[in-house]
C-alpha cells in the first residue's frame, strides 16, 4: 500500500472512501466534489510531491448499475510513487467532476479527450471542447456503453455528415488563427501583413 493513502486519510478523512492495491498499484476512491482539492494537496505538499499527471480517463462498466468512474494517474517523481485516484459518478447524476487544469496544464487535452469520449464535464476547464471527434459530431459520446460500435447513424448518413464538415475549420481557437495572434507576430511580419501581403490561400 502506498504510504500516501494514510496521509490522505489523515488529511481528508471521510473524503477518502476506499483504497485498495491491485498488482502493487494503489487505487484510492475519493469524494468526487473534492478531487481538485485533493490533487492540489498531493501536488503541493512537499511530503507527497505528485508533480506528474500521466493520465485522465474514465471507465464505464457494462453493468448499468455500476457508476461511471473517472480516473487520474499521478506519479511522484521525488518519492517514486504511483497513485491512482478514482471518483465515482453514479448513473442518473450529472457527470461532473472538478477540473485539475489549474494544477496540471497537461490535463488540458486529457480532459478534453475524456469529455469527447465519455461526456464527463470537467468543471473549471477553460476550453472544454471535443478533441478527437470533429466539432459538430452529433452521435453522442462514442465510448459510452449505450452507443453501438458502428455509431447511431447509418454509414451513408455518417459519411454525408463527415463530408459536410469544413476541412479548414479551426480546431484550436488560438493557435491556428493568424488574425487573433496578430499582435504576437514579429514586427517585420506585421508590417508585411499590413501592406496587404497574402498569407496562404
Amino acid at each position: 500500500m502506498n504510504p500516501t493513502v494514510d496521509a490522505l486519510r489523515e488529511k481528508f478523512g471521510a473524503a477518502i472512501q476506499r483504497a485498495d492495491v491491485v498488482w502493487g498499484e494503489t487505487t484510492v476512491v475519493v469524494e468526487r466534489t473534492r478531487v481538485a482539492e485533493i490533487v492540489r494537496w498531493l501536488h503541493d505538499d512537499p511530503g507527497q510531491s505528485y508533480v506528474y499527471l500521466s493520465d485522465v480517463t474514465a471507465v464505464e462498466n457494462r453493468d448499468v448499475e455500476q457508476p461511471l468512474e473517472v480516473v487520474w494517474h499521478l506519479r511522484s517523481l521525488a518519492f517514486r510513487r504511483f497513485l491512482r485516484l478514482k471518483a465515482l459518478l453514479p448513473k442518473g447524476t450529472p457527470l461532473e467532476v472538478p477540473s485539475v487544469f489549474p494544477i496540471f496544464k497537461s490535463a488540458d487535452w486529457m480532459e478534453r479527450e475524456c469529455f469527447d469520449m465519455f461526456g464527463v464535464k470537467f468543471v473549471g476547464h477553460p476550453d472544454l471542447r471535443r478533441l478527437l471527434m470533429w466539432e459538430g459530431y452529433k452521435e453522442g459520446f462514442p465510448l459510452r456503453k449505450d452507443i453501438p460500435l458502428l455509431g447511431r447513424f447509418s454509414r451513408a448518413e455518417q459519411l454525408r455528415q463527415a463530408l459536410a464538415a469544413n476541412p479548414e475549420a479551426r480546431y484550436s481557437k488560438e493557435e491556428l488563427s493568424i488574425a487573433d495572434a496578430f499582435e504576437d507576430l514579429p514586427q517585420d511580419m506585421r508590417a508585411r501583413l499590413r501592406s496587404g501581403e497574402k498569407t496562404g490561400e
Binding site: S154, Q158, L159, P167
Partner: protein, 208 residues
Amino acid sequence: MGLTPRPESNVVSYDPKGGEGWVTTRLDFLVNWGRANSLWPMPFGTACCAIEFMASAAAQFDLARFGMERMSFSPRQADVLICAGRVPFKLAPVLRRIWQQMPQPKWAISMGACASTGGMFDNYAVVQGIDTIIPVDVYVPGCPPRPEGLIYGIMMLQEKVKRERAADPSIRHEMEPDPTSQLYIPPSAINELSEPFGNAVHQTRSGL
C-alpha cells in the same frame, strides 16, 4: 551584312540518306506512354501502409524505376494519389479536398485493406473504403501490402493509363452524384438495404 533567312521550321525535311529515323504513331499512344512512365505520386499516408509505401520508395524496391522518382507532397503537382492507411471520418473532407486540388489527369490507388474497405476498423470512426469519397483506379489488397504488391498495383495502373483513348474523354469527367441517374440510390433506400447489417460497405458507394 551576312543576314540569311532562317530555315523554315514548320517544314519537316526528310533526307533518306541522312541516317535520321522517324516513326508514325497515334498521338494518344505517345501521350499515354509518357504519362504512364512519369506518374508522380502524392502519398496520403495515415497508417502502417505508409511505412510499406516508404519501403517501396526506398532503395531496395525503388519506385524511381517506374518513373515515380519525384514524390509530390503537394496535390497540385501530383498525378496519382496513393492513399495508404485508414481514413477516419474526420479526415474525409480533407481527402476529398486534396483530390479536388489535383489537376487532371489524375488517378488514385487505394493501398491496403483499410483504405479499400475499412478493414478491421468497422466502427463509428472510420470510413468504410475511400471509394465512398473519391474515385479509385486500383485497389491493392494486403494488411499492409508488401512493396511487391504495391508495385504490382502501380504496374496495373500503368496498363490502365496506356489504354486510355483521346477519343473517349468521359474517363476524365468529374461527376457529382446525379439523382436522375439509373444507378443512383437515395440514402433512405441504402439505409433500408443495409439493415440489419450495419456494415454498408457494398452500399454506400452507389454514387453518394
